[in-house]
């Protein structure tokens, strides 16, 4: 461990004086060292990426820089002079601006009001005309198209982010910190943001980009600082490194960027959907006669632009959404009108798309979350009473097998990181030896290490004969895990192809509604499909595949 503390500095360029230096930053939350003598050096007018797994201390470091958290020790030097940052006000004063991961915007107020808040033009009365004018000028100067008089809540997410950016530009910040800015953006919006960032740097700004997406690091940054478990784990020149090297520094070991899997050993039919129909929440037809068969030992991936019925498909199979017509055969029996509990008894497992809302009861502790769904069956319940010993034993076993951290069965689920929360869900769903697994976005929001772990589990289970229906909006995830790919478009399965024979371009076109029925896709559909395909810049390994 100690050997890893010393940063790897391949080449230092002495000519450029650093604009920002953070030295020996240490911050403990209770017994957890979120930052352990972290150093960060950012040069003037560069785009500097700070990367690390979830929980590596990136956000803590940036919150310290912005004065939201006070470090236990360490110093911050800007442009050669040490500064003390006791709060956001101080940070703003020394030219630091931050675009937070969760936007800090007042939804019911206008763009101009949000931008000028705290530094309003005028005297006692806000000079609203001046505010609108100044924000308009600013947005023109930096090419950030936005109507200053629009109410923020009416704006799309990408535009809201521009408002966040305008807020810090209005305050004349020179150092702009972006905390996971692309997490909420579509691929097109991400491209636009990167254009804006390049423009800002050309205009004399310095940018820190916090992320765990390696393709973004490669695409836009000049240098990278890697954090791991609260410590420095490397400082790299983007041009002289590779995603594999960064991933290794982040995780601390060699990471399999491509999922290894053997040939599928396909067995008997496990799940068959026959003319399945269901409605969306708004009571409009969402599934329009789905026919699909999944057999033991195979992973069938559902590819599609989100909103084409994937979510409804998962819920209908799981029993959370009523079937309006058709059949769901689970091991030969039609369960279309059975309850979720009955389906679980028939061997159905379900990893929901939203683990926090549906996969876990967040305030409950890990051990109770690990037996949810089986809580009223033996051995966990006997004669109507809870059998604590059995619950404890199961928790101990699963925590060990899935390496759930912290290994504390009493910890509330909400205190776990996203990756460990997902491990709890996966561990529980696989614990009762299911026959069919519906996995919806199993790696959404997870970092490299956690994604790799979850994917390995899915492949392992498939090799043991589980039938898996994989629903993902990440085409790379579909391609790397599936044995066959079913393309869904407007509630229809338009094609099922073996993944070995699948062609990305063709799948992308089908997702946008091309071919079949002779229809030509509209321009926007092609754009959507192209965006889904464009996640992977040519020439880089598909690291980014699963964790966008």
């Amino acid at each position: 461990m100690t050997a890893l503390v010393s940063p790897v500095v391949p080449e230092t360029i002495p000519s450029a004086t650093p604009y920002l230096q953070m030295r020996g930053i240490t911050k403990a939350f209770g017994t957890l060292l979120a930052n352990d003598h972290v150093d960060l050096t950012v040069r003037d007018r560069e785009i500097h990426a700070v990367v690390g797994e979830n929980g590596a201390g990136k956000t803590t470091l940036m919150n310290i820089l912005y004065g939201l958290i006070h470090p236990d020790s360490g110093e911050i030097v800007i442009d050669g002079s040490p500064v003390r940052i006791r709060g956001p006000r101080d940070a703003i004063a020394v030219g630091i601006g931050m675009v937070h991961q969760h936007f800090q915007l007042v939804p019911v107020m206008t763009v101009a009001e949000n931008v000028v808040l705290g530094q309003e033009p005028g005297g006692i009365v806000v000079d609203r005309r001046a505010a609108v004018r100044q924000v308009g000028e600013l947005s023109e100067r930096f090419g950030l198209v936005v109507d200053p008089t629009a109410r923020v809540e009416t704006l799309p997410v990408g535009v809201q982010q521009r408002v966040e950016l305008l807020k810090i530009l209005y305050r004349g910040s020179r150092l702009l910190v972006f905390d996971e800015p692309t997490a909420v953006l579509t691929p097109q919006e991400t491209d636009e943001l990167f254009e804006i960032l390049r423009g800002l740097v050309a205009g004399g700004k310095t940018v820190i980009l916090i992320t765990h997406k390696l393709n973004e690091v490669m695409a836009i940054s000049e240098r990278v600082t890697v954090l791991r478990q609260g410590r420095n784990a490397g400082e790299l020149e983007t041009a002289k490194t590779s995603p594999a090297e960064i991933a290794r520094a982040m995780v601390g070991r060699e990471v399999l960027l491509r999922v290894e899997r053997d040939e599928a050993h396909i067995g008997e039919e496990r799940l068959r959907l026959d003319g399945l129909k269901a409605n969306s929440d708004r009571q409009l037809p969402a599934l329009d006669g789905i026919d699909l068969t999944i057999r033991s030992g195979e992973i069938v991936g559902i590819a599609g632009v989100s909103g084409n019925g994937q979510l409804e498909l998962a819920e209908v199979i799981a029993g959370l959404r009523p079937v309006t017509d058709g059949h769901v055969f689970l091991g030969g029996e039609d369960v279309a009108h059975q309850t979720t509990a009955e389906r679980r008894v028939h061997g159905l497992a379900y990893i929901p798309e939203d683990r926090q809302a549906r996969g876990l009861v967040l305030p409950f502790d890990v051990k109770d979350n690990l037996i949810l769904g089986s809580q009223s069956r033996p051995p966990f319940a006997q004669r109507g009473q809870r059998n604590s010993d059995a619950v404890d034993e199961r928790a101990k076993e699963l925590i060990q097998r899935y390496d759930i951290r912290p290994p504390d069965p009493e910890a509330p689920a909400q205190s776990l990181s996203g990756g460990n929360q997902q491990k709890v869900v996966v561990a529980r769903e696989l614990a009762e030896n299911p026959k069919v697994l519906v996995a919806a976005e199993p790696a959404r929001g997870l970092d490299v290490g956690a994604t790799e772990f979850i994917h390995r589990q899915l492949i392992e289970q498939r090799d043991h004969g589980l039938a898996i229906l994989l629903i993902s909006s990440e085409l790379d995830e579909i391609f790397s895990l599936s044995d066959s790919i079913a393309v869904i478009y407007r509630g229809h399965i338009v094609e099922v192809v073996p993944s070995a024979a699948a062609d990305r371009e063709r799948i992308g076109l089908l997702m946008a509604g091309g071919t079949i029925e002779g229809g030509t896709p509209s321009a926007s559909q092609v754009a959507q499909a192209a965006a889904a395909l464009a996640n992977e810049p040519p020439g880089t390994p598909p690291v980014e595949s699963a964790h966008q």
């Binding site: 939201l68 709060g87 007042v106 808040l117």
Partner: protein, 313 residues
């Protein structure tokens, strides 16, 4: 036919309309205070208690000094002091704001009852306390009907009416108002821009106490010219309802207070006509329930109303 005639006669009475304004005045003051407090994100159901304490100290200081300015000032400051307790509990200590507000209401009732017994147990409050002056407007006074309605109202009635546009201007046009509303909607956004959430909230809670205190002074030094146990008898809660009915907007709250004032005035004017005046007096409250149940559109509170702010969360 009889009923129609009765109502026509009553509606033509200037007394009815002057009474509407008189009854609305203390409600308006308390409701405006509530609007300010809740716009900053602190739920305030303690207007009742703040008014009651204000009313008592108006009488106590008035009886001791015979000075109307001091008496009013005492009332306003006591309202502010009680509000400060609510502020400390709900802002610094992050207590449940409903519970804190209710505790203040109960405390106010107990405190004033106790002090009432302690000072005026046998005789009741003295009659030589000063009164808030009426404003006699000679020109308007000579206009028929209008003169009888607004020609001779109490000064506080005018203050309450003027307070409506002033509060609106304060909240929606000034820099501090913008910050207050930002703090009430999204305190973290305001905090990240260097706006002090605590300072804004304390300011607003205390302002609401000052407003309620003035409302209490008006009840004691003009309407009743005395203090009696629980004399506010729910006025603070009616103001609370008006604030919600008025969708946390000063003008909306004022209109709601006028409606409630009208109901009370109508009830009094119907006395002796044989018509069940209680029924009429109840209509504004029935209207409120109906309105809040969704017939006038959903009332949307400030997003962070009632949510304590935790620094560095």
């Amino acid at each position: 036919m009889d009923i129609v005639n009765t109502f026509a006669t009553i509606l033509a009475r200037p007394d009815l309309w002057a009474g509407t304004l008189r009854f609305a005045a203390p409600l308006t003051l308390a409701a405006l205070g509530g609007v300010i407090s809740e716009r900053s994100g602190v739920v305030n159901i303690a207007m009742e208690g703040m008014m009651l304490v204000g009313a008592f100290f108006a009488v106590l200081v008035g009886a001791a000094t015979h000075d109307i300015v001091l008496a009013t000032l005492a009332s306003v400051l006591c309202g502010g002091l009680i509000a400060t307790f609510h502020g400390v509990a709900s802002i610094h200590l992050r207590a449940n704001q409903i519970v804190s507000g209710m505790a203040i209401n109960l405390f106010a009732l107990g405190l004033t009852s106790f002090l009432m017994f302690r000072f005026y147990a046998t005789s009741g409050t003295p009659s030589d306390i000063p009164a808030l002056p009426d404003v006699n407007i000679p020109v308007i006074n000579s206009i028929p009907f209008v003169g009888a309605v607004i020609g001779d109202l109490n000064s506080i009635v005018w203050v309450s009416i003027l307070a409506v546009p002033v509060t609106w201007w304060f909240l929606f046009r000034t820099r501090i108002g913008l910050r207050i509303r930002a703090v009430g909607e999204h305190p973290r956004a305001a905090d990240t821009l260097g706006v002090s959430v605590f300072r804004m909230r304390y300011l607003c809670v205390i302002l609401s106490g000052l407003f309620s205190g003035l409302g209490g002074a008006y009840l004691a030094l003009s309407v009743a010219h005395s203090f009696s146990d629980n004399m506010t008898s729910g006025a603070g809660f009616i103001a609370l309802a008006a604030m919600i009915f008025g969708k946390w907007h000063p003008v909306g709250a004022f209109l709601a207070c006028l409606l409630f004032g009208f109901g009370q005035s109508l009830g009094i004017n119907l006395q002796g006509t044989g018509f069940p005046d209680q029924l009429v007096a109840a209509t504004p409250y029935v209207l409120t329930v109906v309105a809040l149940a969704g017939f006038v559109g959903r009332a949307v509170a400030p997003a962070a109303d009632g949510v304590p702010y935790e620094v560095g969360e």
